[in-house]
Amino acid sequence: MLRRLPLPAQIDRTITLGGLLASVVAAPYIVVLGVLFATGELSAPEFVFWLNAGLVVGGALAAVLLRHIVHAALGLVGASLGVAGIFLLLASEFLALVQVLVYGGGVTILLLFGLMMTRATDGPIVTDGAQKPFAFGAGIVLAGLFVGAMLDAEWDALNVTVVGFRELGIRLYRDFGIPFEVASLVLLVALIGAITIARREPAPGEDDSK
């Protein structure tokens, strides 16, 4: 039945191969998690957390390391869906929904659109520069600094409580009304700016006002 899908052969191959590769990489991780869950080492929320954390880190690694730009964009989709799962675990359903809609949908479509406009899809291209070792070192130092600081601090954490749509809406529109309106203005200005910048220049002699 899969063969009947009206997809271009290249995309079809990419999805099939990529899915196969991803499941081969992810299978041992999921098996280990499942064994730990079955033996009672992990509670159900922890099981979901580690699943989502694996998705986030794996997707981010794919987005940062893969040489083919479309594959990197698909890695970003995976990481975004994982982040939505993390938001669900943190009991903020609204943010999880928005994350899936805005990142899984809008941002990715925009990025792929940009890829096609810049003709970057013609095979793997060299995307990484000579600064790679320096970037690697800087990333390691940053990660070490953050992880060390966060593990060092003492947090008197409370229990996670669910923030419902109703409370969120009341808080957003009652206490953050003006920032909300400013955000809509920011979006409007950004879109007008994007159109103005990306617009084709009129050819010499052509009337601009048309």
Partner: protein
């Protein structure tokens, strides 16, 4: 219950990965993808703090909503700039956008 540190460490790792991507990549669109990763990491951090430390006022969740809004605006605007750059230079490689170099 999951300790708060798990979420913080996850967001730190995600942020460092995005940082590496921004520094190592040369294609403008791949740099944008890495910036999106960093923004997602910051969102995780703020939502985790809101859920664990401030469950009655949850200011962090409101902040995350604004982060997502600004990220969407930023991607739209940045892609406009990348398209223009590509039209001027026939390349989306940021190393070649050096006309401001003295």
């Amino acid at each position: 219950m999951i300790p708060l540190e798990n979420f913080l460490v996850l967001s730190a790792i995600l942020f460092a990965l995005g940082f590496y991507g921004v520094l190592a990549r040369r294609s403008a669109i791949l740099i944008l993808i890495a910036v999106e990763l960093m923004l997602a990491a910051v969102s995780i951090n703020m939502v985790a703090f809101a859920a664990y430390l401030d469950p009655t006022r949850f200011t962090g969740i409101i902040f995350a909503i604004f982060v997502i809004t600004v990220a969407a605006a930023e991607v739209g605007l940045a892609l406009g700039i990348v398209l223009r750059l590509f039209r001027e230079r026939a390349s989306a490689n940021v190393d070649e956008a050096n006309s401001l170099k003295w």
